[in-house]
Symmetry: C2
Subunit: 199 residues, 2 copies
């Protein structure tokens, strides 16, 4: 398979490809690093990337930053910026990439545990994760040409645990392997419309 992993150079992106079987052509896209550069929030940049790459079998989105902060101090602009970054970035990859994915191909999005498991300062991230989960569920039933779509919903990734120190008290960090298997299930399996939880 020809697999594009957007955000493929980050911690989740690295985990995402770690359990795929051998023989795939994997293209890593990043903001500044990777095989090809893209700004997922910029429609023109996303479309240009797809035009350059030609046909793909799988697109994996491991991108997005949401706003972390106490809900009582959060402003509408901060909230909307989170939606634009984490939700619209991934949605752009789907809506603008649909025509570039082969029949029977797949999209795999990345949400997160906060959609159902709250932490302090995480209400914007929660909303973003919930939007991505439900979009995958909602879109799957009408994707054209047998294209599948799922969301992988990881807990606190081991590789990122230090960066989020103090935010996730009592959360057992999830191994890269565990997360890798979830992406492999979506990319190489046959499921669609699923939220694949890894906790």
């Amino acid at each position: 398979m020809r697999i594009l992993v957007v955000g493929g150079t980050g911690a989740v992106g690295k985990a995402a490809v770690s359990k795929l079987s051998k023989g795939h052509e994997i293209i890593l896209a990043g903001g500044k690093s990777g095989d090809i550069q893209v700004n997922v929030m910029d429609e023109a940049s996303v479309s240009a990337m797809y035009a350059k790459l030609g046909k793909l079998d799988a697109v994996v989105a491991c991108t997005g930053h949401s706003h972390f902060g106490p809900v009582a101090e959060m402003g509408p602009k901060q909230f909307l910026d989170g939606l634009k970054d984490k939700v619209m970035g991934q949605i752009n990859l789907v809506l603008l990439g649909m025509a570039h994915v082969n029949d029977g191909g797949s999209f795999t999005l990345t949400s997160g545990i906060l959609s159902y498991e709250p932490i302090r300062q995480g209400s914007n991230a929660a909303a973003c994760d919930g939007a991505i989960d439900s979009f995958a569920i909602g879109a799957a039933i009408e994707m054209p040409r047998g294209i599948r779509i799922n969301a992988v919903s990881p807990g606190l990734l081991e590789a990122a645990a230090q960066r989020y120190d103090g935010y996730f008290p009592g959360h057992i960090p999830v191994s890269n392997d565990r997360v890798g298997y979830a992406y492999a299930k979506s990319i190489e399996g046959a499921v669609t419309g699923q939220v694949i939880r890894c906790e």
Copy 2:
């Protein structure tokens, strides 16, 4: 209680207040009708409404239009417009209204069945509903001064069934009474961080 129902003149808004116990002061806000007018997507308009009304015990948000259309024909702008209308409209009411709600008061948001039960052309609505559900779950744990927040998630409302004719095959319309009880549970009960499903 002093209860503000935004979108209170619509079908869901009418159902929302139908099972509340007597003796509340209910203020209906609408785009063009109701006791007070507000554009929930406009921060200044939302802030002006709250400033006029003074302190409240409960805010109920029954607002929002998402984009309906096949996912294969959906553009990023249509998708973002849905998020701005249905998600940010309700989020604005919470973030800008927090300081105007009395200690121990509540917010009740309105999502919908599409966050977990897909229909054709409903993927944007699904994402909006999922965002609202997860925001209520995420925000509840850190709302200040004992303020509660829940999301009511109704199925196809009996009163709106004709308007959505053909979109919800096989969905059993939900009575106004059933939906009214869900809002009463959130407004008059003690629960917080819940998605109250009515199907």
